[in-house]
């Protein structure tokens, strides 16, 4: 991760041969890159400014160590500061040290994922913490919201508060706590209706719910795709009900998740969990060090490896990786890769997870590679002989005509494929070179079974 960031800075620092303290000018230019990366990742502008100012303070005058380049030095300072700003290494658990029943209040905007997260949380608390959990929906706004939570409760194997039509959210909250006491529950999860931060009446209502139940944790549920508005939302909910923790949903998407930093900055509350899928067990502890790389546009190695592990055929991946590094990548391998990629999802989202691939991602998008052509390209390759697949150079006009007829496309599409293959093998060669420099070592090793068995801690390299 540091390597990728310092690589980004390397251009800036190329002219900087001297050792000694970093000057304000050196740092300033690198930080402009950081600022842009963070804005593109949807970190709110005031938060970006504050962060950049703090990093600048720390970096200017810092001694460049003998062993590293100035670029690496700044990269490390930026990365460390970001992990720190996101809450430091490791996850913060829920506060469950209170007399039962412990009320947990779920709040957030419409559609942020409160109800689904409530169900996931209930399952987690039941299975991992061995607690007796009651789920209660206070959402009388959205049609069928209470029914939705009841169904999720069933999937999570926990009871839900019986639905009584016509009750206000505050009344339901009181009834839930009463049931919790009477029936000996350890935890009562109170799922509220989504509300806009500027809706005074609904914000007052959630304030009353809080007053009536005194929740031990008030968890703000936030969509990882949230833009600049994260600041306004965080402030409004924090002012109204005092947020004690944040849950970031849809981290399985390809948003860079800058909202995490904005939320943490405004509320000061730790990010406790992240939602990572549609299944009811897809709730994970939040790891600042993973999200830091994602925000800086450096990729989420662990996320990439996890995704790859789910879908990729390991033997095939290992063969491909070796070929990529050696530069002996053929059309046959390309077809195999097309199959893998179609299984994994959009190519740009995969590249987005790889460190140092931001630039190549743009080039690929420029090359107009889209998912829908993968199948056709596979068909074209299938119409080639083995010899042609291994030595595409021999494919001239007459062979092209035959291949086109065989796969039901125009000759121009065969040309396009060959051109694209050329571009890609060029890129692969570059990746191979980067790999020798160490940039790709983690990413590619991660695709291989050997690398997979390595504990995460070992992927980090000492400074």
């Amino acid at each position: 991760m540091f390597d990728a960031l310092s690589d980004k800075f390397s251009g800036i620092f190329d002219g900087l041969r001297k050792r000694g303290a970093l000057s304000e000018a050196d740092v300033g230019e690198a930080l402009r890159e950081v600022r842009l990366a963070m804005l593109e990742a949807d970190v709110a502008l005031p938060v970006v400014k504050d962060f950049v100012a703090r990093v600048k303070e720390r970096a200017v005058g810092a001694e460049v160590l003998e062993a590293v380049s100035p670029g690496q030095q700044v990269a490390k300072i930026v990365h460390d500061a970001l992990v720190e700003a996101l809450g430091g290494e490791g996850a913060v658990p829920l506060n469950l040290s209170a007399p039962a029943p412990i009320p947990l209040l779920m709040v957030g905007l419409q559609g942020s994922g409160k109800t689904t997260t409530s169900g996931k949380l209930a399952l987690r608390l039941r299975t991992r913490e061995r607690r007796r959990v009651l789920l209660a929906s206070l959402d009388t706004q959205r049609p069928a919201a209470q029914l939705q939570l009841a169904q999720l409760a069933e999937r999570a194997g926990v009871p839900s508060l019986p639905i009584v039509a016509g009750q206000t959210p505050v009344e339901i909250a009181r009834r839930a706590m009463e049931a919790g006491r009477r029936e000996g529950f350890d935890i009562v999860i109170l799922d509220t209706a989504g509300r806009l931060s500027i809706d005074a009446a609904l914000m007052e209502e959630v304030r009353q719910i809080r007053a009536a139940t005194s929740p031990v944790e008030t968890l703000l549920v936030v969509d990882a795709m949230t833009g600049q508005d994260a600041v306004a939302t965080a402030r409004a909910f924090n002012d109204a009900v005092g947020v004690t923790g944040v849950i970031l949903t849809r981290m399985d998407g390809d948003a860079r998740g800058g909202a995490a930093l904005s939320m943490r900055h405004v509320t000061g509350a730790p990010i406790k969990f992240s939602g990572s899928g549609e299944k009811i067990d897809a709730l994970e502890e939040f790891h600042p060090e993973r999200v830091a790389g994602r925000i800086l546009g450096l990729g989420d190695i662990v996320g990439l490896v996890e995704r790859a592990a789910e879908t990729i055929d390991h033997d095939e991946a290992e063969k491909l990786a070796t070929k990529m590094l050696k530069g002996t990548f053929t059309l046959e391998d390309y077809a195999a890769q097309l199959r893998q990629i179609s299984k994994m999802g959009s190519i740009s989202s995969i590249l987005g997870m790889m460190p140092g691939m931001g630039q190549m991602k743009k080039q690929l998008e420029g090359a107009n590679i889209d998912q829908s052509v993968f199948k056709r390209q596979q068909a074209i390759i299938s119409s080639m002989t083995m010899k042609e697949r291994r030595q595409p150079d021999i494919i001239k006009a007459s062979r092209k005509k035959r291949i086109a007829a065989g796969s039901g496309v125009n000759v121009s599409e065969v040309n396009k494929l060959l051109k694209q293959f050329d571009d890609i093998s060029d890129m692969m060669k570059r990746v191979g070179k980067l790999g020798q420099k160490g940039l790709m070592r983690q990413g590619l090793a991660g695709l291989m079974p050997k690398g997979m068995s390595q504990p995460r801690g070992q992927q980090k390299r000492p400074w």
Binding site: E40, Q228, T233, A255, E278
Partner: protein, 304 residues
């Protein structure tokens, strides 16, 4: 129509007080110099236009107005015009094709953007306009999604085709189209489960719905609506790109514009994809689904 501007303005003005306040502060009594331009650029960034688009818009400002003494009103008008010019080509209301019986509308988007609510509002408006409408509860995955649409059906006096939980949405859509064709229904509105655009298998499921519909009507779906949450940041660009690629989105609906989010990402989307923005959601009521008006939106964005 009169209500649109008022409502949008009401929704936006609450959230743009800071922006307009900031504008006044910037340009009331000084030259449009580097500092002023930088602050303007930052104001656009905080509205989610994205760093690249904000920087382009400001660059064009720099060319024409740098160093001039400008008043608050001038800068607002000019900036609103600049943004409206980008948005005007995409402000296209949703047109129903009366020759299609039914006109099939497939509604897609990531989770939690407001697809079902938007369909509910559309059903009400179609009902009021005297159109025969049929809803399809194509979200068979999320808990109680079918019931949510059924409640909207009851509210809007619109029949709903639903299947058991976990049913194949493509099969459901096929049956609904058969029925809609037999009944001479005007509009078939198909709800789908929210899905993240980077999940290939789920995107394939959408493509399958379309394939199956085309077995009956090769021209269906006539509209593929992508519902986008205004609070979404730069990831909206990737969302639109992938949905467009996979299911040939024909237009956008932007929801939750009554909140504090300003939906500036729409400007970036207009530049990048030029997809029509058919409507905006500015509240909970059926009439709060309004046609998208470029100049009003741009003005609202700047707090006018």
């Amino acid at each position: 129509m009169a209500g649109f501007f008022a409502r949008l303005k009401e929704g936006l003005s609450r959230s743009t007080q800071k922006l307009s306040g900031g504008l006044t502060a910037i340009v009331a009594k000084r030259k449009l110099d580097d500092d002023a331009l930088e602050e303007l650029e930052e104001l656009l960034i905080t509205a989610d236009l994205g760093p690249a688009v904000a920087s382009r818009i400001i660059a064009s400002f720099r060319r024409t107005r740098f160093g001039r003494e400008v008043t608050d009103a001038e800068i607002r008008t000019a900036l609103a015009d600049e943004i409206a010019a980008i948005l005007a080509p995409v402000a296209i209301p949703l047109q129903l094709d009366p020759t299609k019986k039914p006109h099939v509308i497939l509604v897609v988007g990531v989770n939690g953007t407001g697809k079902t609510t938007t369909i509910g509002k559309m059903a009400q408006q179609l009902h009021d306009a005297g159109k025969r409408t049929l809803l399809v509860a194509g979200d068979t995955f999320r808990a109680a999604a079918t019931e949510q649409l059924q409640i909207w059906g009851t509210r809007t006096h619109t029949p709903v085709i639903a299947g058991p939980a976990g049913a194949d949405p493509a099969g459901l859509a096929f049956d609904a189209l058969t029925r809609a064709t037999a009944d001479a229904t005007n509009v078939l509105l198909i709800d789908t489960a929210g899905r993240l655009h980077n999940k290939a298998a789920l995107m394939d499921e959408l493509a399958k719905i379309i394939r199956v519909l085309r077995k009956q009507d090769p021209t269906a779906p006539h509209t593929v609506l992508l519902v986008l949450d205004a609070t979404t940041g730069q990831n909206a660009i990737q969302q639109v790109r992938v949905f467009k690629e996979m299911v040939a989105v024909t237009g956008l609906v932007v929801t939750k514009l009554d909140g504090s989010a300003r939906g500036g990402i729409v400007v970036a989307l207009a530049e990048e994809f030029a997809l029509p923005v058919h409507a905006v959601g500015v509240g909970e009521k059926a009439e709060d689904l309004q046609p998208f008006e470029a100049l009003d939106f741009a003005r609202g964005l700047l707090g006018e």
